[in-house]
């Protein structure tokens, strides 16, 4: 009866900003960021990345109440950096890590069999050499560079080239 609507969990209402920033008056280089309509999914990741920053002295997040769908992230930094800077840096680093993760995952899934060309002239190249090496960030980028982004991209759309079994393992 008193429960808020389920769409309140992720729809930011008109008038409220998604992220707002409040400096702490009593402590220098300290601020609280209030992110509306987010939860532990982004809060914990942001906190983890902030901890890795050597300039951050304190980083934590909380959900003030489980029925109010927002998180408050509190950051204290050393004097070399500001909380705003630390926050931006953390999210940029996360973005880069996630795109790398996506690349390695797609390589792990599809990298063994590569489709060349498209339409009636499709041929499949078995990329055995690269399978032997561990897929690392550098190797994967070099691999994509070798064959061109477009070739790799056209793989995903061809239904019949989704080979599931890994050689030697079930």
């Amino acid at each position: 009866m008193n429960a808020p609507d389920r769409y309140e969990r992720f729809v930011v209402p008109d008038g409220t900003k998604k992220v707002s920033y409040e400096r702490d008056t009593k402590i220098i280089n300290a601020a609280s960021f209030t992110v509306e309509r987010e939860d532990h999914t982004i809060g914990n990741i942001l906190r983890m990345q902030l901890h890795r920053d050597p300039n951050v002295l304190f980083a934590g997040y909380k959900l003030p109440h489980p029925l109010q769908y927002k998180i408050i992230v509190r950051i204290h930094t050393a004097s070399q950096s500001s909380p705003m800077q630390a926050y931006n840096q953390a999210i940029n680093d996360l973005d880069k890590e996630l795109s790398h993760l996506k690349g390695v995952f797609e390589y792990g899934m599809y990298g063994r069999f590569l489709v060349w060309g498209s339409g009636p002239r499709i041929s499949v190249l078995f990329v055995e050499l690269i399978v032997q090496n561990k897929p690392s960030g550098r190797g994967f980028e070099a691999f994509k560079g070798l064959l061109g982004e477009s070739t790799f991209g056209c793989f995903g759309s061809t239904q019949r080239c989704r080979y599931y079994q890994r050689r030697g393992k079930q």
Partner: protein, 381 residues
């Protein structure tokens, strides 16, 4: 029981603190490395569960922890163990627990799917009440790629880009009839029910309107030409009818996320666990080895023959360990077997309900997390 008289253990020689070897600087001693990278699963509770993230954690040893945490790009690996049409198991090595949990949460609640939301019931004389029937229809997984469709809000009219229309018309003539999900027919042209208006002049002017306004048939859309839309499983029981009972309804399916209602969750479930590590701290031989092998319900331990002809236990399959802690029950066993978990090696399992294959689901989850990060950054004024 014979008592063996023994002498008091020989006194240990006293070493001055000044003569002790130096703590190695620049490198972690093995016990600290174990604390940093492993969760110790003791018989009462696990210890050292948090990840050591701050770069100054080992500053007293003159060791920069940010170097150990690394370089994500160099350490990150993905290994696919098993992949079927509906299910996938893969390992991710080198990520933190918060990232793994974020993926799990997004897979369960934020990857969108299509599910039946509005049910227009023309006739229901069965014993299943209207709302119960509508609830059951909502939970049926629909085999369609949700990325083709748009979200619909309250003000939008249902059209071919945001709604899928199904029809169910069953009548039981004699005996008992079980209504299964294959009775749901897809209507690519939109709704067949006419909106009732009390004003006959309105109907004359603009023609009779249905509950949806499809501009063109969905069957013409390239995605659905060869594969028609329908429920993933044909044998889901929707209702049971007796003689003379009839159900006639139309169901509209829309796009939504698990956060709104669990019917829109694309995974049966998705979970992860950390890689277990089992180590034998002492040599376990003969009778004890047999006992250890028997204890483990998932056959983690096995016995090999040593050169002297004795039987020794070894860890054959640590990955299967479910942490039931049978092997460390009792004081003596705790000294012989150590159970640990590797903190940055996650074994993910994703079971899809059928709308999207599991590897596509994971890629979508990563994209959604990237979008979230971007929103959180760009909307900061």
């Amino acid at each position: 029981m014979s008592c063996i008289t023994s002498e008091a253990p020989p006194p240990k020689p006293k070493i001055s603190a000044l003569d002790m070897p130096d703590v190695p600087m620049g490198r972690l001693p093995p016990h600290l490395e174990r604390q940093r990278t492993r969760v110790l699963c003791n018989s009462d509770a696990p210890t050292h569960t948090e990840s050591v993230l701050s770069s100054g954690a080992y500053a007293s040893m003159e060791l920069d922890n940010s170097g150990l945490l690394g370089h994500f790009k160099d350490n990150f690996e993905v290994d696919v163990i098993r992949l079927n049409e509906d299910e996938m198991e893969f390992d991710m090595i080198g990520i933190d627990a918060s990232v793994a949990n974020a993926f799990r949460r997004i897979l369960i609640a934020e990857v969108p799917t299509m599910a039946i939301e509005k049910v227009l019931i023309a006739n229901n004389t069965s014993v299943v009440q209207d709302e119960v029937l509508a609830h059951r229809l909502g939970l049926i997984p629909i085999k369609v790629d949700p990325r083709v469709f748009d979200y619909i809000s309250e003000n939008d009219t249902p059209n071919e880009k945001n709604t899928i229309v199904f029809k169910l018309h069953v009548r039981c003539t004699h005996g008992r009839l079980t209504v299964k999900s294959d009775e749901l027919q897809w209507l690519p042209h939109g709704s067949g029910f006419l909106v009732e208006t009390e004003n006959p002049q309105l109907i004359q002017k603009s023609g009779s309107k249905t509950y949806t306004s499809f501009g063109r048939s969905q069957a013409e859309m390239s995605d659905f030409e060869s594969n028609p839309i329908g429920p993933k499983h044909e044998d889901i029981i929707i209702a049971k009818l007796g003689t003379g009972q009839e159900i006639e309804l139309e169901a509209h399916a829309v796009k939504g996320m698990g956060k709104t209602h669990a019917k829109w969750s694309p995974v049966a479930t998705a979970w992860y666990r950390m890689l277990p590590e089992v180590e034998l701290l002492e040599d376990v031989e003969d009778v004890l080895a047999e006992e250890l092998k028997q204890k483990c319900p998932v056959k983690v331990f096995d016995i090999e023959d040593t050169l002297e002809g004795k039987k020794k236990a070894f860890v054959a399959n640590p990955r299967a360990c479910t942490l039931c802690r049978e092997c460390i029950r009792g004081e003596e066993w705790q000294k012989r077997v150590a159970l640990r978990r590797v903190k940055d090696h996650f074994i993910f399992t994703i079971e899809s309900t059928g709308a999207l294959p599991p590897e596509v689901l994971f890629t979508e989850a990563v994209k959604i997390l990237e979008d979230k990060c971007e929103r959180v950054l760009s909307e900061l004024s």
